[in-house]
């Protein structure tokens, strides 16, 4: 249990997808103009990540890893399919995104309209594939750990996009030099926020 909480807190604050690895920056910068839409996208990301990471973990463990196929028969024990992992992960993510899109369209048409083109683009949100690849690289031991990691990363991403959206809403009233408006200042603010998040590094878990 202690271990799970560690992973959860780590993935939200210390290994934050945006501030530590810059993953999912494209939609982070494009959608963060108002708090409302960004929180919608953030929730979609938490949901997709919370499903895909454990799913990819199971696939990785029982299908892709070197020797993973040995549960079928001993003859398959030295088959190594790990080079296929990119392909499998992205297929899982693309189909899950399709699912989320259908659910959102059915239950919340206003949200669907405001997210517009960016919902299908969750499939190419680097943060989601990134979470699966980090899960693979860090070699989590149990399904619970992978799930907690997926959810935590999603929540970290949500936190980041909602806070920058709130800052950008206020920024509209401030006097920024012309060429720095929009994209430029967003980058620099994200940099400053990342510095703030670095202070979590001091937490020993």
């Amino acid at each position: 249990m202690q271990n799970l909480i560690d992973i959860f807190v780590r993935s939200i604050f210390i290994d934050n997808m945006i501030f530590a690895y810059f993953l999912g920056m494209c939609s982070y910068l494009a959608i963060s103009k108002t708090v409302k839409t960004s929180s919608g996208l953030g929730i979609a990301v938490i949901f997709v990540m919370g499903i895909t990471v454990p799913l990819d973990y199971v696939l990785e463990k029982y299908l892709l890893k070197a020797g993973a196929l040995s549960w079928i028969s001993a003859g398959l024990a030295d088959v190594d399919l790990s080079f296929l992992s990119f392909m499998v992960f992205i297929a899982v993510i693309a189909s899950m995104t399709q699912l989320v899109e259908m659910i959102v369209e059915k239950f919340s048409p206003p949200l669907y309209n405001s997210l517009g083109i960016f919902l299908p683009l969750i499939a190419v949100n680097c943060a989601i594939l990134g979470a699966s690849l980090f899960m693979q690289e860090r070699e989590y031991n149990t399904l619970a750990e992978a799930t907690v990691f997926g959810l935590g990363s999603g929540i970290g991403w949500y936190l980041a996009i909602v806070s920058i959206a709130a800052i950008r809403e206020k920024l509209r009233y401030s006097n920024i030099p012309g060429p720095l408006k929009g994209l430029g200042i967003s980058f620099i603010i994200t940099g400053l926020m990342a510095i703030a998040f670095m202070s979590f590094l001091g937490i020993k878990l």
Binding site: F19, A20, Y21, F22, L23, G24, M25, C26, L29, A30, K33, F83, L84, S85, F86, M87, I90, A91, A94, P120, L121, A123, V124, N125, C126, A127, I128, L129, G130, L133, F134, E137, R172, P177, G178, P179, L180, K181, G182, L183, G184, I185, S186, F187, I188, T190, G191, L192, A194, I195, M198
Partner: protein, 215 residues
């Protein structure tokens, strides 16, 4: 486009040149930022990354442009992802075989080329409606524009952060350490990459006023 048009006509050259500056994938189209920032601590990985992205982009742009008329629009995203993923697997295997050290440093970011928005963006916006040759040039241009920013950012981060250029200890050779100069370790940390790109955007938009945003 007529068959007689020369291979390097003005229009085609424009495809290569535009992304270098006024239509840069990173600073103007806001594509592919994710990987651009994380691999720019040193110049060598940044260069390898830029070359890999260009290679994947060129190959998948051409392949997708060749098959574009046979793909039903509804399933095109999956097809695009499959093409890109195949190319990325190839590049990943090549990197592991020939430059293992750098491939280790890039870690998950090679895999993340699949979700690099530049690829989907260019496939969707350009290769979807153009013939293979212009698509190839478009890929080269965008790859180069991406590489340009990567190299610029990594140059400053490596020079100021580690005091080297392409692994060559230039600050030590110039003898600046004797005057009390110290490497700024802060610049090798992730946040400074963001600030540097912000500054590059500022510089670029001060020169090209038409790029300035309203908000």
């Amino acid at each position: 486009m007529s068959e007689k048009e020369p291979l390097l006509s003005k229009k085609n050259l424009k495809l290569v040149k535009d992304p270098l500056n006024e239509n840069n994938p990173i600073t103007v189209q806001v594509l592919g930022i994710c990987s651009a920032l994380a691999v720019t601590v040193k110049m060598k990985p940044a260069f390898v990354m830029a070359v890999s992205v260009t290679a994947v982009l060129a190959a998948s742009n051409v392949v997708y442009s060749l098959v574009r008329n046979y793909i039903p629009p509804r399933i095109r995203i999956i097809v695009q992802l499959t093409i890109i993923a195949t190319m990325v697997i190839l590049v990943d295997e090549i990197l592991k075989a020939y430059v293992y050290e750098i491939s280790k440093q890039l870690s998950v970011f090679v895999g993340l080329i699949i979700t690099n928005c530049i690829l989907m963006g260019r496939l969707e916006a350009f290769a979807n409606a153009n013939k293979p040759w212009p698509s190839f040039l478009d890929a080269l241009g965008n790859g180069a524009g991406y590489g340009l920013i990567l190299i610029t950012v990594s140059f400053f981060r490596e020079l100021l952060g580690s005091g080297t250029v392409w692994g060559y200890p230039i600050m030590e050779k110039l003898g600046v350490y004797n005057t009390g100069y110290v490497n700024n370790g802060f610049i090798t940390l992730p946040p400074m990459a963001l600030v540097l790109v912000g500054l590059i955007i500022w510089l670029q938009r001060s020169r090209f006023k038409n790029l300035i945003e309203k908000h």
